[in-house]
Amino acid sequence: SIQVRQKVVEVDPKEAEDFDRDLRALMQESVESRRLEIRARPTLNMMIPMNVFDGTKDPRAIDGESSEETVDEDGGTSALSNKVRVKVLMKKGNKQQTKHMFIPRESSLIQSTKQQEAAELEE
C-alpha cells in the first residue's frame, strides 16, 4: 500500500473554543425553542409494526466480523470490530420502515453490553 506522510493535526484552541460556544448556543436554542413551542403535554405516537419485536434472536444479530464491516476506519489499530446488528425503525410519511445497521458493541445503546459491564463490576 501507499506510504503516507504523517500529518500533524493541530486544532487552534481559540477557534475550537469559539466553535464550541456556538455549538452549545445552538443546542440550547434548540431545546428552549421546543420547550416554548410545545406547551401542552406531548402526545405519544410510537406506532410499532407488529413484526419488529417478534423476530426473536436472529442468528446474525450479533455479528463479530461481518463481511462489509471489517474495514476499520482507524486503519486497523483496534483490530476488533465487534459490531451488533440492529433494526432501525423509521417512518416514511405514515408508513413504518425497518432497516438494518451495525452498531459497535461498546455503545451504551446496546443492552447486552450493559449487562456485560454489570457482570464485570461485580467481580
Binding site: 487552534d12 452549545r24 431545546v31 423476530g55
Partner: protein, 822 residues
C-alpha cells in the same frame, strides 16, 4: 516516496461530484450527509480534518442549519433524520434509544419526547439515550468517518477558511473555497498597533473595535429575553417595589451584575392590563435570585406571580464614554500632558523625572509596613510621569497603591483620581486609602446607588444625604418629602435637583481622593474636574479605550497597576478580540519597553503552593512572605499525600458531558469527589467560608452545588455556604482551601477555558493553605503548561488516585505536549 498530496487532484467547482463534501471534497457516500435546509442542500462529510468538529457539524453550527438527509447509498438509504415520535428534524435534539429486550433502535428527540412518561412504561430504555451528535461529530456508525487515506487526499481546510466560506455563502450560496482568495472578502478590522502616528490614527484604529464590541454586546443582551419568569414581590426600605426571580446563567460570559437594567413585562390577561417597568438589579442572592428594584411603583401587578417576561435594557454609556475619551485625547491638547501623549502613542521621548520632594518614609499611616520591593515601587513611581506596577497574587498591590495615592495626595497638586475597571476593586481601594486618613469620595453610577457597598459611608450619594441633616437644611427636607411621597411636585423637584447638584459638587471638591470605575470617570458630575495624578488598579483587565477615560482629565502623572500574567479584559466580539482589543494599555506599554516594577513578596500561599506559579509565570522571582509554619493548618486532619505539602492532583477518569441546558459541560465523577473532599474538610473542622470550589464551566458549577446539598452527608446548610464559582470570579480574591474541578475529559476537543495560561495562574494562586486539583491527566497533559504542572505534582509525589481515605501515587502516563499556542 509518495505523499498524501496529489498534485493532479482538482478541486475546481465543476469537478465536484454532487455529494462531495463542500469543504474538503471527500465523496464516499457512507461518509457524507446533505444539509436539508431548502436554501442550502450542500453535502458535508463527517471528518474533523483540522477542526475540532466534523465538517457537517461545523457547517450546521456556522450556518445555524439543523436538518440533514442521509445519502441514498448509505445503509439507511435516502432518509431525513427525524424523531420517530413527533417528527422533529432538529439534529441537535435527536438521539437513539433502543428497545429493552430487542436489537431495535429508533431516533427520538430529547425535548419533549424523551420526557414523555408514557414512553417509560413501554418497551424502550430511555436511560441510554444516545445523542446523534457526540463529541462534535455525527455518530460514526451512522455516518462513517472517512479513512485516514481519504482524509489525507482531501483538501486541508482550516477553521478560518470554513468561517470565511460560510460567511460568503450567506450572500453567494454557490461560492467555492477558491473564491476566498479573491480580494474584498476578508473584512477584518484594522488590528491594533504598537505605535501610532498621532491620536487621530489611534482613534481610527480603536473606534471601530469599540463599535464592534458595542454592537455585539447590544445584540447579545437584547437576545437574552426570558419568558415565563416567576416573580416573588417585596418592598424595599425606600418603599420601592422589588421583584425577585431566577435568571438562568450560561457559559457565554454574560453575567448579570448589580446595576444592570432590566425590563419586566406582563402581556396582560382578562383581569390585568398589559404592564411593563424598567428596573435596576440591586443584588444577586445566595439562592441565585435576581433582585430588581422597579423604577415605577404604580400599577405593578403584585397579585400575579407567573408568566412574566424579562428583557435586558442595553445601554451604550460605557462605549460612548470610551469613544468620547479617544476624541478628547485627539482634539484637546490639555487632555493629557505632552509627555504622556507621546509616550502612550509609542513615540521616542526624552526620559522625564517628576520633581517632587520625596517623603522620608514611604509607608502611610493606617497601612501595614511596606517591604523592600513595595518601598522601591512607591519611591520610583513618585518620580516618574508614567509607571507600571506588576502585582502578582498576594503581593499587596492594594496596600502599595494606597501608599502611592497617600503620598501623591500629600504633594498638594490637587485631587488624585483612583480608578479600576471593576466596582469590587474600586471599593477595596477606597477603603484602604480611607484608612490612611485621607478624605475619600467613592463616586458610584446612578444605577448602582441602591446596590449595597462595603464602603457605603464613602459614597457620594450617602454623603449627600448625611452632609447636613439639620432642621434648616432645605435639601434634607426635600429628600425626606421625596422618600415619604415617592415623588415631588415639579417645582420642588427642580429645587431638589439643583440643591443636590450643588451639594455633590461641594463634597467632591473637598475630597483628597476620588474613587470610581474607569467608565465612572466619564460621569458628567466630574466633567469640570481636572486630575493631574491618576492611579488605575487592575488596569490589565481594562481595554485601552476604557483606561483612557480617567486619563484625559488632564493627567500629568499616571500609575497603572495590574498583572499581565493574570486574566485580561473580557472581549465578547471575536473580531474585535482578534484585532487586539483584548490587549491592555499596560501590556502595550510593556511591549514598548516600559519595565514594570514587580512586587516580589507574596503573603498568601503556603510556600509549596507558590513554587509552581512563581517558576512558570514570574521567572521564579516570587518570594514567600509567609513560612510553612504560618500556613500549617493546625488541627485539620486531611489526607494530604505528603505531609507539609498541602496539595495534590487527584486523577479523574470520568467522562465530561454536555449539561442539561445544552450550553455547558459537567463531569459527574469529579463532582462526586469534590463533595467527598469538601465533606472531609468540614468534618475536620474547616468552616464553609474557608473553602472555595473553582470550576470553569457553569454546567459543572450548578451540578456541584446541587450534588453537594443533595448527597453531602453533613448538614445541607454547610454545603450551601460554600462558594462554587468560575476562575474569573475568583480573580483578586483568596480562600484558605481551593478545590479545582477541571471537567474536560475528551480526546478530540481541547481543554477549553483552561487552555489560557493566565487563567491557570489565577486558579492556582487563590489558596492560602491547600489546593486539590481534580482532572484527567491524559487529556490535560497534551497542553504544555498543564504537562509541566502535572510533572511538578508527580515529582513531588502529589499525583494520586484511589479513594480519598487511601490515596496512592498514580502511574498514569502523560501524553506528549503539543506545540504552544499564543
Amino acid at each position: 516516496e509518495e505523499t498524501g498530496e496529489d498534485e493532479n487532484y482538482e478541486f475546481g467547482k465543476g469537478d465536484f461530484t454532487e455529494h462531495a463534501c463542500r469543504y474538503c471534497g471527500v465523496q464516499n457516500p457512507a461518509c457524507v450527509v446533505r444539509c436539508n435546509m431548502p436554501s442550502c442542500r450542500k453535502w458535508f462529510c463527517n471528518s474533523r480534518g483540522n477542526t475540532s468538529g466534523s465538517h457537517i457539524v461545523n457547517h450546521l453550527v456556522r450556518a445555524k442549519h439543523k436538518e440533514v438527509c442521509l445519502h441514498k447509498d448509505s445503509p439507511l438509504g435516502e432518509t431525513i433524520l427525524e424523531c420517530y415520535n413527533c417528527g422533529c428534524r432538529n439534529v441537535f435534539l435527536l438521539g437513539f434509544i433502543s428497545a429493552k429486550t430487542e436489537s431495535v433502535v429508533v431516533l427520538l428527540c430529547r425535548e419533549p419526547c424523551l420526557s414523555v412518561n408514557a414512553l417509560k412504561d413501554m418497551n424502550w430504555d430511555l436511560s441510554q439515550w444516545c445523542p446523534l451528535i457526540d463529541d462534535r461529530c455525527f455518530l460514526p456508525w451512522l455516518v462513517k468517518v472517512p479513512s485516514e487515506q481519504e482524509q489525507l487526499r482531501a483538501r486541508q481546510v482550516t477553521a478560518q477558511q470554513i468561517n470565511k466560506v460560510e460567511e460568503l455563502w450567506k450572500t453567494n450560496p454557490d461560492a467555492s473555497l477558491e473564491d476566498l482568495e479573491k480580494p474584498g472578502v476578508d473584512d477584518e478590522p484594522q488590528p491594533v498597533a504598537l505605535k501610532y502616528e498621532d491620536a487621530y490614527q489611534y482613534q481610527n484604529v480603536f473606534a471601530p473595535l469599540i463599535k464592534l464590541e458595542a454592537d455585539y454586546d447590544k445584540m447579545m443582551k437584547e437576545s437574552q429575553s426570558k419568558d415565563n419568569v416567576t416573580i416573588r414581590w417585596d418592598v424595599g426600605l425606600n418603599k420601592k417595589r422589588i421583584a425577585y426571580f431566577v435568571f438562568p446563567k450560561e457559559d457565554n460570559e454574560l453575567r448579570l451584575v448589580p446595576g444592570d437594567e432590566l425590563r419586566l413585562r406582563y402581556s396582560g390577561d382578562a383581569a390585568h392590563p398589559a404592564w411593563q417597568s424598567v428596573g435596576h438589579v440591586i443584588k444577586l442572592t445566595a439562592q441565585e435570585e435576581v433582585a430588581l428594584e422597579l423604577r415605577a411603583s404604580q400599577g405593578v401587578p403584585i397579585d400575579l406571580n407567573h408568566g412574566f417576561s424579562v428583557d435586558f435594557v442595553w445601554k451604550s454609556t460605557s462605549f460612548d464614554r470610551m469613544q468620547g475619551a479617544m476624541k478628547n485625547f485627539a482634539v484637546d491638547e490639555t487632555s493629557v500632558s505632552g509627555y504622556i501623549y507621546h509616550h502612550l502613542l509609542g513615540h521616542e521621548v526624552e526620559l522625564q523625572i517628576v520633581r517632587n520632594t520625596l517623603p522620608r518614609r514611604f509607608g502611610a499611616p493606617g497601612l501595614p509596613e511596606l517591604n523592600a520591593s513595595q518601598v522601591f515601587a512607591v519611591k520610583s513611581v513618585l518620580q516618574k510621569p508614567i509607571s507600571l506596577i506588576q502585582g502578582p497574587p498576594g503581593t499587596g498591590k492594594t496596600v502599595t497603591s494606597a501608599a502611592i495615592v497617600y503620598h501623591m495626595a500629600k504633594q498638594g497638586q490637587g485631587q488624585v483620581l483612583v480608578c479600576a475597571p471593576s466596582n469590587v476593586a474600586v471599593d477595596q481601594l477606597a477603603e484602604k486609602i480611607s484608612s490612611t486618613g485621607l478624605k475619600v469620595v467613592r463616586l458610584c453610577a446612578k444605577s448602582r446607588e441602591a446596590v449595597s457597598s462595603p464602603v457605603e459611608h464613602l459614597t457620594l450619594h450617602y454623603q449627600v444625604r448625611h452632609l447636613d441633616t439639620s432642621e434648616k437644611s432645605e435639601l434634607h427636607k426635600l429628600q425626606q418629602l421625596k422618600d415619604e411621597q415617592g415623588e415631588l411636585s415639579s417645582s420642588d423637584e427642580k429645587k431638589f435637583k439643583a440643591l443636590k447638584r450643588a451639594t455633590e459638587r461641594e463634597i467632591l471638591q473637598s475630597a483628597d481622593v476620588i474613587c470610581c470605575t474607569c467608565v465612572g470617570a466619564g460621569d458628567p458630575r466630574l466633567a469640570n474636574f481636572r486630575f493631574r495624578q491618576v492611579l488605575i488598579d487592575e488596569s490589565t483587565q481594562a481595554t485601552e479605550p476604557e483606561c483612557l477615560i480617567p486619563l484625559v482629565l488632564g493627567v500629568k502623572q499616571v500609575v497603572l497597576v495590574g498583572d499581565h500574567c493574570q486574566l485580561g479584559p473580557v472581549i465578547m466580539c471575536k473580531k474585535a478580540a482578534r484585532a487586539g482589543l483584548a490587549q491592555s494599555l499596560f501590556e502595550r506599554l510593556v511591549l514598548l519597553g516600559l519595565k514594570p516594577f514587580r512586587l516580589q513578596v507574596q503573603y498568601r500561599m503556603h510556600p509549596s503552593l507558590s513554587e509552581f506559579p512563581s517558576n512558570s509565570f514570574y521567572e521564579g522571582t516570587l518570594q514567600n512572605g509567609v513560612t510553612i509554619n504560618e500556613r500549617q493548618s493546625l488541627g485539620i486532619d486531611f489526607p494530604w499525600p505528603v505531609p507539609n505539602r498541602p496539595m495534590f492532583f487527584y486523577v479523574q477518569m470520568g467522562q465530561e458531558e454536555i449539561s442539561a441546558s445544552g450550553t455547558s459541560y459537567l463531569n459527574r465523577t469529579e463532582a462526586a469527589n469534590v463533595e467527598k473532599i469538601v465533606t472531609t474538610f468540614l468534618r475536620s473542622g474547616v468552616v464553609p467560608s474557608q473553602i472555595g470550589v473553582i470550576t470553569p464551566y457553569e454546567g459543572q458549577r450548578a451540578y456541584i452545588v446541587n450534588y453537594m446539598s443533595r448527597n453531602g452527608s453533613l448538614r445541607q446548610q454547610l454545603y450551601k455556604e460554600i462558594e462554587v464559582a468560575s476562575v474569573d470570579s475568583f480573580q483578586g480574591r483568596e480562600k484558605d482551601f481551593i478545590i479545582l474541578s477541571c471537567v474536560r475529559s475528551n480526546e478530540h476537543q481541547g481543554i477549553g477555558f483552561l487552555n489560557d495560561p493566565r487563567r491557570l495562574n489565577v486558579a492556582l494562586t487563590r489558596a492560602r493553605y491547600g489546593i486539590v486539583i481534580l482532572g484527567n491527566p491524559k487529556v490535560l497533559s497534551k497542553q504544555p503548561l498543564w504537562n509541566c504542572l502535572l510533572t511538578h505534582y508527580k515529582e513531588r509525589e502529589c499525583l494520586v488516585e484511589g479513594p480519598l481515605n487511601n490515596l496512592k501515587q498514580s502511574m498514569v502516563q502523560f501524553q506528549k505536549p503539543k506545540k504552544m499556542y499564543n
